[in-house]
Assembly symmetry: C2
Homo-oligomer: 345 residues x 2
DNA sequence: TGCATTTGCGTTTACGTTAACGCATAGTAT
DNA sequence: ATACTATGCGTTAACGTAAACGCAAATGCA
């Protein structure tokens, strides 16, 4: 069913049908009705190829992420997924335009966001880790299509949010630590950077898992690697709690913490569990410094968000608004390392 | 960079450029060279929209899967992924044409395969679970683009194989069973239908995990639900092995086996681990009849294979030839049930 | 009444690619 | 010599959509 077939059936020209379809006015009310009824009856779907050929536009998706190297590779994995999607979609005239912001600096998200929106992007992919600034930014551009990764932003209407439940992740970390360390003891939940929503929720879930298990005592601690004495802090904790038996790091810094634990000679008594299968963490797992990783599939998040924006913008599809990423459990037995595929032992 | 720009630069017509691009002959050798050098220099990429508009073809992907209801939903999940991809790609003129075959009947794959290829599909998605017949089928159509799901097929050149390492899956099942049942005892690996490659490899991996763990004795058994006495067989096994402490079912029939175990009143002594997050298995996990599931993401496999065939056929991209699906570990704490998304406790 | 604007509609061009067609010129066979 | 065919190239008509343009007729305002 094409526009000209509709035109023939309605005894009007294709120009009239086009005006009806795009609500460009200058059509008599009863003509509109006639055309609309034919469209509804026959279920017209515009031809995507013809449509995009005619418009012949580059569809540019702005990408606004925290500094890729501000943490240890989590955001970089997300960026890899974004790049993969962009590469696949390049023959469909989709390009990305990326800017980073410093989540520790007030106003950085907002400023960088404004910079990228000045360039008139067609859609925006955003990690709303500074909620207030993200809201301000989006409020200034009410017609913009945007998608979230990493975490949701309440009171906004995104095309799509690709997220994971951090409370559940913390709870699952508790279960895994319980399985890996059935003997009880003192457990420590570690945060490394300034409290973020996902991090604190994970701690909450983790603590709640052990709330009804008296064989375990749980603590909550912040370790800062920049300009302080993380090794000393951790050493003091071990001396105060000789029955330490497990550590849960709520983010991708687990390999750093594991390094400290090994330096203190405490690995044998400590089960290590953390987040995100970044290269350093995978390596630490191979070296038996880390026992379990949970993953929020950051590559998948970025990849999916780009595709959803493309589907909305170029295919005019209305995708699910919330895509909830399963929590992956990674043990040495199902760790997949770059380049190794399907090796039969 | 368009064809007419190339034509202008080369001082020829667009017809000539087109003949060079498509190697349709009737162009003087030095003209070919001139055009080619300009193309290489400027990096011409054909416009996908214009190309497909002109060709205005339906791209039909044939799908050849085992009877969707022959097992308990594994193939159905794969089909769901295929349908999802097909729905997303429908504005790009991609359609699927599916036929099922009976993997237990000799000649069924081949016959159904021939039926579907008679209809001149543009590409084929195939689960090569009857290797010899799949090879014969593909050998008869040397120019066809095809992709595999579920398992690979040696000595063929598919566009893409979306697979998982079954040996590793069995090994991981061993590790999880070990974690969930640290006390040793007798373990049973169960196959339910006629031995398939994936099933037997999983058993092999499972047994190898416990090979060096004398606290566990492992057995290997076939249970057939059709027309026999599975309950009786399992009962006999329990009586002969009172220290039974775990069962690994290598496929999606874990919920059926779990049902028998519950009937025999043996659940409390038996850790149950199986494959594939089909609805019945998820339900059994919610009811605490199943303790752990591994997943090969069948929806993802089907979804991805369709997309790769589309990318090859319509975008002319050359994707990775092997996509190795990670082995997902599903516990009650990270089980995702249809409809429930991101519920904060 | 006269002129300008608005309304309603048809016509046309363009997007980039493909492939059929046409038309010379050159070479080959009868 | 005539009638072929082969070669090398340009021209053109689609594919379906979008939107500018044009042209009447109807309406507004003096």
């Amino acid at each position: 069913m094409t526009i000209s077939e509709i035109a023939k059936l309605a005894n009007v020209s294709i120009g009239t049908v086009d005006r009806v379809l795009h609500k460009r006015g200058r059509v008599a009310p009863n003509t509109v009705e006639k055309v609309m009824s034919i469209i509804e009856e026959h279920g017209y779907q515009p031809n995507t190829y013809a449509r995009n050929l005619k418009l012949s536009r580059q569809f540019t998706i702005g990408v606004l992420l925290p500094l890729l190297h501000s943490e240890y590779g989590y955001w970089n994995l997300m960026y890899e997924g974004i790049l993969k999607a962009a590469k696949e979609l390049s023959p469909l005239a989709v390009t990305i335009d990326m800017l980073e912001f410093d989540r520790t600096k007030e106003g950085s998200l907002l400023a960088q966001g404004r910079r990228i929106l000045e360039k008139s992007v067609d859609a925006l992919l955003l990690a709303p880790v500074v909620p207030a600034e993200a809201k301000t930014l989006l409020a200034d551009h009410p017609t913009l299509d945007y998608a979230f990764v990493d975490s949701p932003l309440p009171d906004t209407i995104p095309v799509c949010s690709v997220i994971q439940n951090p409370y559940q992740g913390g709870y699952l970390a508790g279960r895994m630590l319980h399985l890996l360390q059935p003997n009880g003891g003192t457990l420590l939940a570690v945060q490394t950077h300034r409290a973020a929503y996902n991090s604190s929720e994970r701690v909450r879930g983790f603590l709640s898992y052990f709330a009804d298990k008296p064989a375990y005592k749980t603590y909550d601690m912040e370790i800062h690697f920049a300009g302080q004495n993380p090794l000393g802090d951790l050493d003091v904790f071990y001396r105060n709690h000789p029955d330490m038996s497990g550590i849960f790091v709520v983010n991708d810094a687990i390999h750093r913490v594991a390094g400290l634990v090994v330096q203190l000679g405490r690995k044998s008594q400590t089960v290590m569990i953390g987040y995100d299968a970044i290269a350093q963490n995978c390596k630490a797992m191979k070296n038996k410094q880390v026992d379990c990783l949970l993953s929020q599939r950051p590559e998948f998040q970025g990849y999916t968000a780009i595709y959803q924006l493309y589907r909305k913008g170029l295919l005019n599809q209305l995708p699910e608004t919330t895509i909830c990423v399963p929590i992956d459990i990674i043990l040495p037995e199902n760790l997949m390392v770059e380049g190794e595929t399907y090796l039969k032992p």
